[in-house]
């Protein structure tokens, strides 16, 4: 194997290559090149550790040969990177002495009150999320109503007088002006509010601290942004952002204060840590889903599906409570808005309407058809995801300046208007106006009087209404050509739109595409001559198509099934929807991952999936961990601590605390773990041994001081430590987590992975048999392995 020798020589460390033979047995009998292929991890963009990898990668490695070792290398953005800017959340409780003391002081009543306040917080989360949903809904309805009315009158005027291109320009102008507002907010003020927010919340629940994702400012930008983008006529929905909004509400309410507004209500102080906050955020996400689709159970299951490793029965029950409150708050306020106070029958932002009656019953022989539709949905979804993947890479690489992003969003808005207008203009599909006026803004154009343009119901409308009319309009209100063209154009528009710097979701466009081709499918089936009207209702197929398309794009399973069932209010559709989503997922996963996972990858987030990649048992903690570890002594000099913290090249967050066995020169033994945030608080309060001695009245530091600083701990640069103080000593005994989790060096990667995923760890110390620190495993060390096409691959760390 020539490439082995090549690699060995490439690694440019003669001593190491010489040692190869000796090292091999340590690696669980894996093949010889394995330790070697790990060596050059300072070069190449992708490393493959699998057994077959070296052959495939030969070329890539040779090209890396030219790059100088030791100098940071710059590569264009790819999906195979891990960003340094993401940190873990501390889901593991820090059981230091302060914590134990506080727990001892807390009375029985205190714990009861805590439990009650958890319920209160969940109720508040549900209530506020419902209110926000209500606000978004009303704002969109009103503003979109104004916009469509203006355009409609203009079109009517110019249909007769001539000059319809002016109407087209007006429409495009209105669209891009409104979208510009939203895009400016997002691009310049809060880029994290872009997109649907579901990937971000998924990451948060996975245990990753995405900067600024749960801030008040994000919420404001998100809400205004989503109103702008829906009113601006983009191919987007307002449901995904609702989930993000719910999560922000939860993170804000549970803390009882707002750092942005500099208001502290002195409430819920106990909840000011990541563990508690995570529970509330999952409640918020559930409340968001529930408000968006009127699906409280679906919301709970969504949180379960996305954030499941940290669940218990009481938490589930509380989350369900928040979901219910949220959907019924929305319901109640919408009933007031619609002048039907007390009528609680419009539960979600999107209302699929009720599927009832005989026409929507399905039969056994339709099940294979549904499964076939699921397969189509999977294929189309995969195509959507692949296109969007390339587009997103292009956007990250080239369209990264805010002004460019705003321009892009405006262009998309204008083109959406232009395409829609052209479609409507050339459509010959005229339908008589129904007696109950389903169409909010019927456009006549060149249709006979008393008829309306059927293409316009699909395009000249907010997407939610279009979905509903596809589900429920009479058979015959769309002709196949209209639906085919609509599917085609909307598919590309939606694919182009997702990933713009506007806050907008992908749920509704997917449903719309699916509903369109599903209805088309139903119509074509009905046109097959057969005895009896067994394919009576195309609305049923529209629903199945919508489920298939959505499942093919986002690849959610359980929660999506329940959401769809709840949104249609028809439990009998459970089976077909489940089958369809399963098929769509299986078919889609064959080609490419789900859209949210793609975007998480492209953000270079160190996301931990359910399990370690398969075929990784031969990797041990020794190979996975980072080493050497920066350790602190139990009684450490302040100067050392400050220097360690301010070292920008090693931005560590957790430091094992070691104790030197006195009198010997043996290496120090592990006795605890301390976090950067804790050290910063300690430095800020100047908890030095010398000071404590001199000032006897010095107030003892409490857990409260740490909570007050949470979650925005000041950077080390803002803390001033004088030259004298640098010489002081700091005793970390009280503050460190005295019992950190440790693993022996030989622990396999899946085992480490499981510990991380199940316990929500942030740092895992690797110790040898004498309890000396050998290395430290963090999330990024684990997340870099993933199963690629050629076996196990390793991601690169990069500065983004």
């Amino acid at each position: 194997m020539a490439n082995i020798t090549k690699k060995v020589s490439w690694s440019s460390r003669a001593d190491e290559s010489g040692a190869t033979g000796e090292r091999t047995p340590l690696l669980n009998g894996s093949e010889q090149q394995n330790p070697l292929s790990r060596q050059p991890s300072e070069g190449g963009s992708v490393f493959q550790i699998g057994r077959l990898s070296t052959v495939d990668l030969e070329e890539e490695i040779t090209s890396d040969e030219e790059s100088l070792r030791g100098r940071p290398k710059e590569i264009p953005h790819t999906e195979k990177l891990l960003s340094l800017k993401y940190e873990s959340l501390d889901y593991d409780n820090i059981e230091n002495q302060l914590f134990l003391e506080e727990e001892r002081r807390m009375s029985y009543m205190g714990f009861r009150c805590l439990e009650i306040s958890r319920w209160v917080v969940c109720g508040l989360i549900g209530f506020l999320t419902g209110l926000i949903a209500c606000f978004i809904d009303i704002a969109v309805e009103q503003l979109a109503g104004i916009k469509y009315q203006v355009v409609k009158t203009n079109i009517e005027k110019f249909t007769e007088a001539g000059g319809l291109s002016i109407s087209l320009l007006l429409w495009a102008f209105l669209n891009s002006a409104i979208v510009m507002l939203g895009a400016i907010m997002v691009a310049f003020f809060e880029p994290i509010a872009a997109g649907s927010g579901i990937p971000q919340i998924k990451c948060y629940l996975n245990g990753i601290k995405i900067p600024r994702v749960v801030r008040l400012k994000t919420l404001v930008v998100k809400v205004c942004g989503v109103i702008c983008s829906v009113v601006g006529g983009l191919a987007v929905g307002k449901e995904g952002p609702m989930i993000h909004s719910g999560a922000v509400v939860a993170a804000g309410v549970s803390q009882g204060r707002s750092t942005s507004l500099k208001r502290d209500f002195k409430m819920f102080e106990y909840f000011r840590r990541d563990t508690e906050k995570r529970d509330f955020v999952s409640a918020g996400a559930a409340a968001g889903v529930s408000a968006a689709f009127g699906a409280p159970v679906g919301g709970v299951l969504f949180s379960l599906e996305e954030g499941a490793s940290f669940w218990n029965q009481m938490l589930t029950w509380r989350i369900f409570f928040a979901s219910m409150i949220s959907t019924f708050t929305l319901n109640f306020f919408l009933s007031i808005y619609h002048n039907k106070t007390g009528d609680l029958s419009s539960p979600g932002l999107i209302n699929f309407g009720r599927f009832q009656g005989d026409s929507v019953a399905y039969n056994l022989y339709e099940i294979p058809l549904f499964i076939a539709m699921g397969a189509i949905g999977g294929l189309l979804g995969a195509l959507f995801n692949i296109l969007n993947y390339w587009l997103t890479i292009f956007r990250i690489r080239y369209v990264h300046r805010p002004c460019l992003q705003v321009m892009e969003a405006m262009l998309v808005a204008a083109v959406t208007a232009a395409v829609s207008f052209t479609m409507i203009y050339f459509s010959n599909d005229c339908q008589p106006l129904g007696p109950e006026h389903n169409e909010e803004y019927p456009l006549q154009l060149f249709c006979a009087d008393g008829e309306y343009n059927s293409m316009a119901t699909a395009f000249f409308n907010t997407p939610e209404r279009s979905v509903r009319s596809l589900f429920h309009n009479q058979p015959g209100s769309y002709n196949p050509l209209t639906l085919g063209l609509f599917t085609l154009t909307y598919f590309f528009l939606a694919c182009w739109t997702y990933g713009l710097a506007v806050s907008a979701g992908v749920f509704i466009p997917s449903l719309l595409i699916g509903a369109a081709w599903g209805r088309l499918f139903g119509i074509l089936l009905a046109s097959i001559p057969s005895n009896g009207s067994i394919w009576a209702d195309p609305g049923k197929y529209a629903l199945i198509g919508a489920a298939a398309q959505l499942g093919g794009i986002v690849r959610m399973t359980l929660s999506l099934t329940v959401i769809m069932v709840e949104a249609t209010g028809n439990v009998t559709y459970g089976l077909p929807i489940m089958l369809v989503l399963m098929t769509a997922k299986i078919v889609g996963d064959y080609f490419v991952e789900g859209l949210y996972d793609i975007h998480i990858k492209l953000q270079s987030v160190p996301f931990l999936h359910w399990d370690a990649p398969a075929t990784s048992h031969w990797l041990t903690a020794r190979e996975v961990m980072s080493a050497p570890v920066t350790c602190l002594n139990r009684i450490e000099k302040v100067g050392t601590i400050v220097d360690t913290l301010s070292n920008t090249s090693t931005n560590h967050n957790g430091f094992p605390v070691v104790v030197q066995v006195s009198g010997t020169d043996e290496p120090a033994k592990l006795c605890g773990l301390i976090l950067r945030s804790q050290l910063i608080v300690l430095l800020k309060h100047k908890v030095f041994v010398e000071l404590a001695r001199s000032r006897l009245t010095h107030r003892k530091l409490q857990l409260k001081d740490f909570r007050d600083a949470y979650p925005r701990f000041p950077p080390i640069q803002s803390i001033h430590v004088s030259q004298d103080e640098r010489e002081c000593m700091m005793d970390l005994t009280e503050f460190m987590n005295a019992t950190p989790y440790t693993v022996p060096q030989e622990t396999s990667l899946p085992r480490v992975f499981k510990l991380f995923r199940a316990l929500g760890l942030r740092h895992l110390v690797v110790a040898d048999d004498e309890n000396r620190v050998v290395g430290l495993v963090t999330r990024k060390d684990l997340a870099r392995y993933h199963l690629g096409k050629h076996g196990l691959e390793e991601l690169q760390l990069a500065q983004t």
Partner: protein, 299 residues
């Protein structure tokens, strides 16, 4: 309740009640009229249906209907007959509101009399007897069908209160409609383009009036149907819809819009600086070797 006054009517009611309860056993010729009252409402009440007299004798004389009530029933039947006879010819083209509002008014009046608990001359109320004493509730069903029909047609909106006359709006609309139709008649022969230009004014005025009325909710089925018919004539028969004339400018503008993003993406591809990521060297590579060195030494 036990008032036995007029035997001839009691006979009929008995027949009526029993025809429902023992419908199977009865002589079919006697039952038939009761089953199809909508078509033939009065025959039920014609005394002396030949087969029934025999039955009558076999029942005790506990008949519950008074002369007053049967009088009411008779009137109801007659008015019902009138109304239905008016409706059927007016069904196409729809003229049900214009032609039949007065007969509906009188029907409603008599029904209200029956159903209201107001006492008749003998201190009696016919509401319970006539409307609710059996499973079929024939009178009620008959009336409620017509009432639904009336509601469906929204005739109320075109009729003044108390069923006096058509509203002024309706009359005005009808006048305009006649004008338009006259215009259509006039130009119907020959080239339709002439019709389209000449009748446009009245047609547009009619359209506008119609949309105004639609907003005010003063439309009834007559007006809707008349408008529908006129529109169909205008658009389908005379082909006066607007032609699609501006294809070129619309295509030009859309193409222009479609080109903008291409230019945008090309220029950002060519001119924008590609974002590069700085790779960070993980510490473990070095550490790994050093660890190995330690172990090597140890071993």
């Amino acid at each position: 309740m036990s008032l036995y006054r007029s035997c001839s009517f009691c006979v009929l009611l008995l027949l009526h009640v029993h025809s429902i309860v023992f419908g199977d056993t009865l002589n079919l010729t006697a039952v038939e009229p009761a089953d199809r009252p909508a078509i033939q409402s009065s025959p039920v009440f014609k005394p002396g249906a030949p087969g029934s007299l025999g039955l009558l004798a076999s029942f005790p004389e506990d008949l519950e209907i008074s002369a007053y009530c049967s009088e009411m029933l008779l009137i109801f039947g007659r008015r019902y007959d009138t109304y239905v006879n008016c409706l059927v010819p007016a069904s196409r083209p729809v003229r049900v509101c214009q032609n039949c509002y007065s007969s509906y008014g009188s029907l409603r009046e008599i029904y209200n009399n029956i159903s209201s608990n107001q006492m008749g001359p003998g201190n009696e109320s016919c509401g319970d007897t006539l409307l609710r004493s059996d499973r079929l509730m024939l009178v009620y069903q008959l009336y409620s069908n017509l009432k639904d029909l009336w509601g469906e047609s929204s005739c109320e909106r075109c009729i003044t209160a108390g069923f006096q006359s058509l509203t002024n709006d309706t009359l005005y609309f009808m006048a305009i409609l006649n004008q338009t139709n006259a215009c259509f008649q006039k130009y119907q022969q020959g080239n339709h383009t002439e019709l389209c230009t000449n009748c446009k004014n009245t047609y547009v005025a009619m359209n506008e009036l119609y949309s105004g009325m639609e907003k005010n909710l003063t439309l009834c089925i007559d007006i809707e149907d008349a408008m529908n018919g006129t529109r169909k004539l205008w658009s389908k028969n005379f082909n006066c819809s607007l032609p699609r004339e501006e294809t070129v400018p619309v295509i030009a503008v859309s193409c222009f819009m479609l080109f903008l993003p291409i230019i945008f993406y090309l220029s950002s591809f060519l001119h924008s600086e590609q974002k590069k990521r700085k790779l960070i060297h993980p510490k473990r590579a070095k550490s790994y070797s050093s660890l190995m060195n330690i172990q090597d030494k140890q071993s």
